[in-house]
Amino acid sequence: MIHSVMIIPVNCEVGLDPFRLLLIGLCVSSCAAAANAGDAPAIALLKAKCFGCHGAAKQEGGLRLDVRGHVLAGGDSGPAVVPGNADSSQLLRRVLSSDDDRMPPEGTRLTQEEVWLLRRWIDSGAGGLPEHDLNTKWRTHWSFQKISMPVPPVIEDSQRVRNSVDAFVIHELQKAGITPSPPADRATLIRRLSLDVTGLLPEPKRVQQFVSDKRPDAWEQLIDEYLASPHYGERWARHWMDVARYADSTGYEADQPRTIWAWRDWVINSFNQGMPFDQFVIEQIAGDLLPEASKEQIIATGFHCNSIFDGGVRWQAVVDRVNTTAAAFLGLTTECARCHTHKTDPVSHREFYELFAFFNDASATSFSLGETGYLDQVPKPDESGRMPPVTLAMKATPQPTHVFGRGDPAQLGIHVSPNVPGFLPQLRIAGDRRASRLDLARWLMKDDHPLTARVTVNRVWQRYFGAGLVETSDDFGMQTPRPKHAALLDWLAARFMQEGWDVKKLHKHILLSATYRQSSNDRRELASADPGNRLLARQVRIRLPAEIIRDVFLDAGGLLSRKIGGPGVYPWQPEGILVNRATPATWKKSEGEDAYRRGLYTWTWRLTPHPHMPLFDAPDGITACTKRSRSNVPVQALTLLNDPVFVEAAQGLGRRVLRGPTGLSAVGSSDPERLKRLFQITLARDPQPREEQLLLDVLERQRKSFHGQPAAAREVCGDAEADRGQLSQLAAWTVLARSVLNLDEFYTRE
C-alpha cells in the first residue's frame, strides 16, 4: 500500500483545498490504523502535556486528544490534526505559535525534539490512539449486549398471570409491593383493541356479542379477528410511515410533489399479509439488490426515498438515511457524529461516514410500475395531466465517500468504505468485495444483533401502552439506563426472533396478556409509588392520533370510506393553507368517497400539511419520528367542535341514531333507546343514569326550541331534504351527537 508520506511533500500548501485533502485522505486511509514506531513516544508526550486539558476529564475548547476520532474531528477551532500533513495541522501550528493561541498556554514551550516527535507522528498518519474512548462503559451497556432469552419468573399468585409477559411484569410489581390493576370491563376492552389494532370503532353489534361471549377463548378469538382485518395493515402502516418520515412532497423550499404512495401501499399489504419483519426490513433497505428482485421488492426500497430532498443537496438526503436507519433499527441518535465523534455513544465521526457510504452508494430514482423498470428521468404528466404510474425506488450508484470535516461537505476528509460501527457485531463479507446495502440490511437482522429486535419490540409495545418499555424509543444509547422491565424486553425480542420475526405473533403475546387488559383508571397510590407507570400496574388512557381522530368521527357518522390504498386524496381543508408557499401547490378537493377516506391517505405537502395533522401532533415528516407527543391545546377544541368535517360527522351520526340501520338487537325508537344507540356507536357503552338524565333533558329543550325554527334546524342538521316533521328531531339529535363526539372519552382510547 502507498504511504502518504512518500508522495505528498510535507511542506505542500494544503490549506482548505478539498482536492488535495482528498488525495491525502485516500492515501492515509490505508495506513491510518497501522501503528508506527514513532507513535508511542508522541502519544506519551501528548499525555504529559495535553491530556490534562484535552482528555477524558476535561475538553478545553471542545477538544479531546486521547481518542483518534476526537483528534480528527477537532474542537471549536476545527480539526486538530490532518493525518499525513503536519504543516496543515493545527496541533503543530499551535505548539509553534508565539501568539496568544500558543499551546500549552502556560509553562514552558515544547522543545525542538518534542515538536519533531509530533511532526513525525502526524506525518506518519497520527496512529496509535484508540478509535474510541476505551474508558467509557459502552462495553457493558445493557442494550449493546447480545439478546438472550430470559426465563419467565415463577409467580406464586398465578391467578393474574395469563402469559409470560405477565410473569415478568408481576414479578417486578411484587418487588415494589404494588398490585396490578383489575381487568377493564369487556366493552372498554373491545374498544381498546379495535382502536389499537385497526384504528376504527368496534361495531356496536360486535361489542354486544363480545360482552356476552362466554367462551374461554373469546378474547383470543377477538384478537385474531382484528389482526385479520385489512384495516390492521392501515393502522400499523401509519406507525411505520412516522418512522419512515413519509410525505407526498419533497420538503425544503421547493416542496415539489412526489409519487411514492405505492410504497405506502406496499407497507399496508406487508402488514396485512403477515410478512416476517426481517424480510420487511431487508426489502425496504435493499430490495433492489436481492437476486432477481421482484417489482414489489423494488417498490419496498421507497422507504429511504422518503427523505426530504433539496435539488442539488443530495448529501443531506444521505445523512437523513443514516439517521433514520439508526433511529429506526439501532435506536441510536447518530446526528452528532456527522460533525464530530459522538460524545456519549461509541460512534466515531469516521464511523458515521462509513454508514453514510452504504447510502451514498445509492440514489432515489423513478421506477415505473409498468414494464419499463427504472426511468432515466422524473416522468412528466401526460397531456390529460395524469402522471404515469411510477414510484420512487433506490438504485445502486456506487461512488467514493469521504468524511466531511466538522460535518461540512466542503471539507472533504479521509476516504472511507461502507462499514458498520465497531462496537456492534462485525459485518462479515466474503473476499474483498465492497459492502452493500444488502449486507447492511442482513446484518441488522442477524440473530446476534443486540439492537434491532429490542428496538422493534419496544416500539410495538409503545403503541399499546403509550410509552415503550424504554421510554426513549429512538435512543437506546449510553444515556438511556436499563429499563425496569429489561427482562421482559429481552424476552419479547428473543421470542420475536425465535418465532421468525412474526409480527402478528408479537402482537398476540402483548394483547393476550393480563397486563394489556388492565383497567386504565389512575390509582392515587401509584402517583407516588410509580408516577410514570414504568412498572405497568395499569393501562393508560391515550388520546388518539391525528388521523385516527378524524377516522373515528367519520366512522361514527357513517361517512368513512373503507377503501384501501391508492394515490393521496384531498379532503376538505380550511382556506389559505397553501398560500405563502415558495412554489405553488394545489388542493383540488376530492369528490365522493375520496373526501371521506382514512387519514393516512390524505395528501401530505410537507411544508403545508393538512392543518389537523400538526394540530393533533402528527409528525412533520422531516426526520424519522418514533414517538408522537400528545398535546392538549384550546384550538383543538375549537376545531373538533366547529370544523366542517367534524360538524358533518356529527350530522351523520344524528341521522344514524334517528334512522338506523343500527345492527343493534334492540332497535328501539324511544328517546332512551336512541340515546343508548348514540353511546353504543361512539363509546361502546350505555349512558350512565346521570348522563342520560342530562342529555334527555337537553334533547327535550332542543327539540322544543328547534320546533319553531325550521331554518335553524335545517342548518344544524345539515340536511336540506329532511322531512319537515322530522327536522327538529334531527337537529336536536345532531346537537347531542356533537357533544358526545367532543367528549374526551370519545377520542381517547381507555
Binding site: 466542503a410 389559505g576 403545508t608 422531516i622 384550538v635 377544541a637 366547529n642 337537553v698 356533537r738
Partner: protein
C-alpha cells in the same frame, strides 16, 4: 401528559420549574401554586416582549450603522482602502456557512465598495447617528439601545429561521425564541394565547420562526388575523350558529366531561381537557376583542399610520401588538412586512426608501404609545432582521444598484423595559463588514430577551434534548439598565 409527568418527576432544574408552571396552567396544580415570579430564575424586568422582525435583511449601513468610509472609497476594492481587507480576516469564514447546493460552497464575494445610498446625522441628545430614512424614529433614538455587532452564519434566507431558533438550516432545528418564552412563563391573561404572531409566519418554510419543536405544539406561536370576524384561522363557528348556541355546546361538553371525571377522579389528562375546552371558549370571546382596532381612537390610528397606504399594514399590526401586551400576552411576534421584502440585491435605494417609510412611523408610534400608557416599564421591544447587507456592490448578473446578503455584521435595536436609553453597543469595522470583538451571535439576543423576562437561558433544559452552548448564548449585559450579576 406522559411527557409532562416525566418532566415533573425529573426534578432537573428548570425543567421541573417549567413543568410545574405548565401543570398549574393546566389546572393540575391548583390552590397552592407559587405566584408567577416565583417560577422564574430571577426578578424580571419585563412582563412582555414585542419582537418585530423585518424579513429579507435590511442594510445595517443604510439604517442604523452608517459608514462614511463607504462613500469615501466608493468604487474601490476592499484591498484598495487603508483598512485591513475584511475578506482575508479569519472571521470571514468563521461567521459564514453556506447552504446552497454542494457545488456552490461559498457565496460570491463582491469586493467593490458601494457608496452609502442615503445621508445620516446625529440625532437626539445622545447624538446617535442613524440614516435619514427614519424621520420618525429619529425622535426616539434617546430611548433606544442599538447593537451594532450582531452576526449570524447563514447567508441565505433560512437565516430568518436562524434568527428565531438559533440554529443554521443544516443543523437540527430548535424551538423558537417565542416558544421558549412561552414555555418558561405563566400566563397573565387566561383568555388569550401567551404567544401571538401577527403577520406571520411569513412563509410556510419559515414556520420554524414561531414553532416550538420539541417543546410541544402548546408552546408554538398562535397566528392571529386582524379580522375581528375571523381572528383564528381554524375552529371558526359555523356561519349561522349563534354565540349563544356555541356557548351551550361548550357547556354541555364540559358538563359531560365532568361526569366522566367522576369516574376517573385522578386523571390529569381529562382534567386538562376540560380546562382546554373552557379556555377555547374564552379565547373565542376574547380574541376578536383583542384584534378589534375599531375600538381605538381615530387619532391613535392616525399616529400609527393607519389610513395611509404606505404604513397601513405595519401600523395595524403594531397597534394590535400593543393591544396584545396590554392584555397580558407574553410574546408578540410581529412581521410588519411580508417575506423577503427588504431583500435588496438590486435597487437598494428604491427598496429601502419604500420599506423604511412603511415601518418608520408605525414603530415610532408604538414606542411613544408604550411610554404614554405607562407600558414602557413592562414591555421590551426588539427590532431585528436576519442579516445585514454587503458593503460591496452586488455585481451578480451585471447588477449596479444593490447589496448582497451579509451574515458577518448587522444591527438590531431594543427599547423599553430593562433597556438602556440612547445607547450604542458594539460596532462593525470602518467598512461595515465584520462585527468587531466577539460580536453577538443571534442567541445572545435570545438570552437577553429571556433574561428580561426573568429566565436564564443557560438553565432552560429539557431532559433528553441536547442544547449546545451556542444555543444558550450570553446576555448582552451592556444594554440592560441592570445587568445580570454573575452567580
Amino acid at each position: 401528559m406522559e411527557r409532562r409527568r416525566f418532566l415533573a418527576d425529573s426534578g432537573l432544574g428548570f425543567a421541573g420549574l417549567a413543568a410545574s408552571a405548565m401543570l398549574a396552567d393546566d389546572g393540575i396544580v391548583k390552590a397552592d401554586s407559587p405566584d408567577t415570579h416565583a417560577r422564574r430564575h430571577f426578578k424580571p424586568a419585563a412582563k412582555s416582549v414585542i419582537w418585530i422582525f423585518l424579513s429579507g435583511g435590511y442594510s445595517h449601513m443604510e439604517t442604523f450603522d452608517p459608514k462614511p468610509a463607504l462613500t469615501k472609497y466608493a468604487g474601490r476594492t476592499y484591498a484598495e482602502t487603508p483598512y485591513p481587507n475584511p475578506v482575508e480576516s479569519p472571521l470571514h469564514r468563521k461567521r459564514f456557512r453556506s447552504v446552497p447546493a454542494e457545488e456552490i460552497d461559498v457565496r460570491d464575494v463582491y469586493p467593490k465598495i458601494y457608496p452609502m445610498q442615503v445621508g445620516f446625522r446625529k440625532r437626539g441628545t445622545s447624538g446617535i447617528e442613524i440614516t435619514d430614512w427614519w424621520p420618525h424614529l429619529s425622535d426616539c433614538v434617546d430611548d433606544i439601545s442599538f447593537v451594532r455587532n450582531m452576526w449570524t452564519t447563514d447567508n441565505d434566507h433560512a437565516a430568518e429561521n436562524q434568527m428565531h431558533t438559533g440554529r443554521h438550516r443544516l443543523d437540527e432545528t430548535q424551538p423558537s425564541i417565542g416558544a421558549w418564552a412561552h414555555y418558561g412563563l405563566g400566563s397573565i391573561n387566561e383568555n388569550l394565547p401567551r404567544f401571538v404572531v401577527l403577520g406571520g409566519p411569513t412563509r410556510t418554510d419559515t414556520r420554524a420562526s414561531i414553532d416550538s419543536y420539541y417543546l410541544g405544539p402548546e408552546h408554538a406561536g398562535v397566528p392571529l388575523q386582524l379580522d375581528p370576524g375571523n381572528p383564528l384561522a381554524f375552529g371558526k363557528r359555523q356561519p349561522r350558529q349563534s354565540a349563544d348556541q356555541q356557548r351551550q355546546e361548550f357547556e354541555l361538553v364540559s358538563e359531560l366531561n365532568r361526569l366522566a371525571a367522576d369516574e376517573f377522579p385522578h386523571d390529569a389528562q381529562l382534567e386538562a381537557r376540560i380546562r382546554s375546552y373552557e379556555l377555547a371558549f374564552r379565547m373565542q370571546a376574547a380574541v376578536p376583542e383583542a384584534v378589534d382596532l375599531s375600538r381605538e381612537t381615530a387619532s391613535m390610528k392616525t399616529a400609527y399610520g393607519i389610513g395611509t397606504k404606505e404604513t397601513e399594514t405595519a401600523g395595524r399590526r403594531l397597534l394590535a401588538a400593543r393591544r396584545m401586551v396590554e392584555r397580558g400576552v407574553r410574546f408578540v411576534q410581529v412581521f410588519p412586512s411580508p417575506y423577503g421584502k427588504w431583500d435588496s440585491h438590486q435597487q437598494l435605494k428604491t427598496n429601502h426608501t419604500k420599506m423604511c417609510l412603511s415601518v418608520d412611523q408605525p414603530v415610532a408610534a408604538l414606542l411613544k404609545d408604550l411610554k404614554q400608557r405607562g407600558l414602557w416599564d413592562d414591555v421590551s421591544v426588539v427590532f431585528c432582521t436576519e442579516f445585514g447587507r454587503t458593503p460591496g456592490l452586488e455585481e451578480r448578473s451585471g447588477g449596479t444598484t444593490g447589496r448582497d446578503h451579509h451574515p458577518n455584521g448587522f444591527t438590531i435595536w431594543m427599547a423599553g423595559a430593562g433597556i438602556r436609553q440612547g445607547f450604542v453597543h458594539g460596532a462593525t469595522d470602518e467598512l461595515g463588514y465584520h462585527a468587531l470583538g466577539e460580536g453577538h451571535y443571534v442567541t445572545d439576543l435570545h438570552a437577553t430577551v429571556l433574561h428580561l423576562l426573568g429566565l436564564d437561558n443557560t438553565r432552560l433544559e429539557i431532559p433528553g434534548r441536547k442544547r449546545l452552548d451556542i444555543d444558550r448564548g450570553a446576555v448582552i449585559g451592556d444594554i440592560l439598565t441592570s445587568p445580570p450579576t454573575p452567580a
